[in-house]
Symmetry: C2
Subunit: 425 residues, 2 copies
């Protein structure tokens, strides 16, 4: 797995980022755009690079969505640092290959759509590429899961959702599924034994059945399968045992989103707005992709601006306190995430680029010297929080490969190098 | 036509508003909602009352949309008047029947989702019913056209779009259609001779072909017709002559939206944001329904909050100046709208509830003693500007009948009575 993942990052098959920008490709220009430059939901290639450099910043123009209201208050300040080190020229060695690059070089090589670095709450770096702009939401992919996990941890802290309870206490609908004998905690930490493949490269993998059921990809004319997330989740069968190993499967986040709705009595978009988005001083609304009955995708459907993602990360870094002074989350909820899960269970999953890490409440915890923990989504979506360096780094991207193993070699060491540079400052 | 229209408003077939509220019907409650309480886009009844009391406030959860950004500035104030007359008890006589009602009674009888009255820029009345809330956008239906007409008038004032030019100067694609020998002005004032029926009650009317082409209603499994607004507009054939009579047809607004895009070089959502929405101090983003290639519906796809609709109306009332002091539109553009079109051409259309009115730049002009002019959308969407009374009244509604002739008898005299009460204050 190691060599395959590393090989992918330098494979000659990867398209030239500079030659495949939105501008170079000319997507969706004109009224109407030329037929070969149109990006439509019913075109399966719309989810394939280089089209994704446009679509990832235009999701709501393709599918129905639910708004996550920012509330009525003024945005919290996100000031620029008066002086910032030259991060572009920070050098690092790529994981695996040892190739030496600058931070600036890594951004293009990783097909970055936007990146923002906060140091002590101030912007020290902010760049946009492709179709992304400061006010435009970009799809967060599985970074969505960390929002769902945070809300679940909050409800658990408040006693509304009991991690020790069986899932069926809240969702009797799942009695005859893989979740029939699982606990809420096992769902939160993804130690569920369920027959479900997350391999995006395999068109027969269940991740595509999931996406079709939720209307995230076209169902096709003769489709006769499940037509909502809830219907799909009720088809999942057990495979292996629970609580033995970390096994990253998007359906667990979707089950957790369902648990959070049932426990709170609120749609996910409303709960996220009330408990987090309206309290961190977000400057724009966020939104979720929804299925045909309006159910938000808790597995990967959240879209936010880069700046608001940074505000959320900064609140996490400050033990739950937003820049506007609001204590959004109790410190105990953030601590429970930062402290991480069981590295032994995580190790069994065999992530070559994440040695010694763990997974807790749908967050990835590095257990490194800086205590870094992250939210991660395919194609390069990231919240990277480095408490020791007092750094929050957020990135949206459109990497051609739907696996972070292909992106980590040029990003995780780059982030550490940036953190080191900020600590030296 | 008169008696038929008046009869409809009191027909026993009209459902009881109180018994068919969103709360009474229980739409979309629960995770998932019970099957018979689900409102999905693929259910044709979703556009039929009483479901519309929910769907009109949840459009973006059903279809793809394009955002109209409010910009980064603080919202302009929309202060409550310190003292306001009791408008609920204002009495008026219904047009036609002479039935006497209070303003409050008229709101329920007209299936009002929300109504807000500004007097001298201050809120003297604001109520929400159904699924509408102050921060939630509601579909504006054909009020959308008045936004498109205003943008067109602005571009005309600036010389970017020439009303005297043939449509084909900008849109050569329409050479072989009804618009092949029409001018831009004829489109702006809807004096186009085109074979196209706007009769919503007739399932074979072209308004439904238009809606299907744009993805505003389901296309159905075996659909083989036009699949974008642009494709549909290129099918329209001439019927009768241009410039003879006002003929209200939504496709004219869609052609005007195309003209505005081609002349400005910008998508409608972007142009509306840059020229109006970001400058009136809107407190929420607005959005358009879009077709499969992201083309906004300029005929009826705009969604806004009621408060922001009021801000737009107040800017119009103040000769183009918003409450935040910005001169959003030149006074000449507003004057050209207020002064109206040709009442003789309007009279030929036979609107029984609108005697002496005219139509200009996609606005309806009363030519009454107060100089009132309005934006109107089916099912009761309204901006009603009464310059003499210094009043702006905005209303979103879900009246079961898709024709303002059924709603005017209980609303136009009510608005005049409210205006009179404010002038007496």
């Amino acid at each position: 797995m190691v060599s395959a993942a590393f090989a992918q990052t330098t494979a000659p098959a990867l398209p030239d980022p500079a030659a495949t920008t939105v501008q170079a490709m000319g997507w969706m220009q004109g009224f109407p755009p030329p037929p070969d430059k149109q990006l439509t939901f019913d075109n399966p290639a719309v989810n394939v690079y280089p089209r994704t450099r446009w679509t990832f910043s235009h999701i709501r123009e393709l599918v129905p969505t639910a708004n996550v209201w920012r509330g009525g208050a003024a945005p919290s300040p996100l000031p620029k640092a008066a002086r910032a080190p030259d991060l572009d020229s920070v050098r690092f060695k790529a994981m695996g290959t040892g190739e030496e690059l600058t931070f600036a070089q890594s951004l293009e090589r990783n097909y970055t759509d936007g990146i923002l670095v906060l140091h002590k709450g101030q912007i020290v770096y902010e760049k946009y590429f492709g179709a992304l702009t400061p006010e435009r939401p970009h799809i967060a992919m599985s970074v969505t899961k960390s929002f769902v996990g945070t809300l679940a941890a909050l409800l658990a802290h408040e006693g509304t959702l009991d991690p020790a309870s069986p899932v069926t206490r809240y969702l009797p609908e799942l009695k005859d599924t893989a979740y029939g004998d699982a606990t809420v905690r096992q769902v939160m930490d993804m130690t569920i034994g369920v027959h479900y493949s997350e391999n995006y490269a395999d068109p027969k993998a269940e991740i595509w059945d999931y996406a079709r059921a939720g209307g995230m990809v076209p169902q096709g004319r003769d489709y006769a399968g499940p037509r909502t997330f809830y219907e799909f989740l009720q088809t999942l069968k057990k495979e292996g045992e629970h609580d033995q190993a970390f096994a990253y499967k998007t359906v667990n986040a979707e089950v957790l989103a369902w648990l959070v709705r049932r426990a709170s009595g609120k749609p996910l978009a409303q709960l996220l707005s009330e408990r987090i988005w309206s309290r961190i001083g977000a400057e724009q609304d966020a939104f979720f992709m929804v299925d045909r009955i309006g159910t938000e995708s808790g597995g990967g459907g959240l879209n936010t601006t880069l700046r608001d993602l940074a505000r959320f990360g900064e609140m996490m870094r400050n033990n739950g306190r937003a820049a506007n002074g609001q204590q959004v989350l109790p410190k105990a909820v953030v601590d429970d995430i930062r402290n991480g899960g069981d590295p032994a269970k995580f190790a069994k999953a065999g992530y070559a680029t994440l040695p010694g890490w763990s997974y807790r409440n749908m967050w990835w915890v590095s257990h490194n010297a800086d205590g870094a923990y992250t939210a991660r989504g395919i194609h390069g979506q990231t919240i990277y929080i480095d408490p020791k360096a007092q750094m929050v780094l957020v990135r949206y991207a459109a990497h051609p490969i739907a696996a972070n193993a292909a992106i980590d070699p040029l990003s995780l060491p780059a982030y550490q190098a940036v953190a080191d540079a900020l600590m030296k400052k």
